[in-house]
Point group: C2
Chain length 168, copies 2
């Protein structure tokens, strides 16, 4: 299956999922909401609201800032995107539709985001919840530090950093 077809397929079922989520709440699948969904699905990695807004404007698919924020919330509630708070006061989003659960390492130097999965940690987490009779709904597991590339740079030039482009 080509990347293109896969994207279409995902977009199709993502749209279904959004439609279902909205109609279950007597909300509507508007053109604006579809534009936002489309924009989200074509973003790669982690992006912020402003970047998405800009992308939509450049693509002549402009919607208002308010609509972007409001729709991102709907998408998050529908389980189509995840909202991350790696740094305070600045949310990043990633689309997670059709993707497996994963957690994140974030480089303090270059901002690079590395995904990781560890089933043992997930299992232990469940155990912890059972012990406390706590019903987990979601979790945030982020490891902050210095990525491999930045460590290498620091060894060579103790002050520079491999300026990572954007928020991958």
């Amino acid at each position: 299956m080509s990347a293109e077809r896969r994207l279409e397929g995902e977009a199709g079922s993502a749209q279904e999922r959004l439609r279902d989520h909205l109609s279950a709440r007597n909300l509507r699948l508007t053109p604006e909401r579809l534009l936002v969904l489309e924009g989200v699905l074509t973003r790669e990695g982690h992006f912020d609201a402003e970047e998405l807004l800009e992308h939509l404007r450049r693509s002549n698919k402009s919607v208002s800032r308010a609509t972007v924020y409001r729709t991102l919330d709907h998408l998050a509630e529908a389980g189509l995107v995840k909202k991350h708070h790696f740094q305070e006061g600045h949310a990043l989003f990633e689309h997670v539709h059709g993707r497996d659960h994963h957690d994140h390492m974030v480089c303090d130097r270059c901002g690079r985001v590395i995904e990781f999965v560890n089933d043992k940690i997930e299992a232990l987490q469940e155990e912890v919840c059972r012990e406390h009779d706590f019903r987990e709904l979601r979790h945030v597991h982020q490891i902050f530090g210095i990525c491999s590339a930045c460590q290498a740079v620091e060894k060579r030039a103790p002050n520079a950093s491999p300026h990572h482009s954007g928020h991958a």
Copy 2:
């Protein structure tokens, strides 16, 4: 050792630690900074900047809002408090001086914060970092969901919640 004496002891060495941290940076251990430290050490559990500010005002140990924020940052850098972002745009602090590392579960209903420690998770985390050649500096591990008490309430009255006082 009584609770009182223990607090004095902790306050004493916390003050030392702050003094060392500041003097190493050519900064001063001012009366205002001491008032903030004192206020922090007498808070229990998790509190926000505004609550601390109010507490200081009520105790006739008033300092400005700016000083509270600035000092909390110093305390965090000195390793005396930790700053948490359980919800976006609203930081909570806890004093961690002389306390062991722990992570948190946060109840979505009542806001209660439950601490947990799991050495196996910590070890696995280190393993994950090694695998990615990532140098961990700190991590955030938060589990969100419904605490035991709120689950019980939900069973009885599917809409109420045991309004938890403050952010313990």
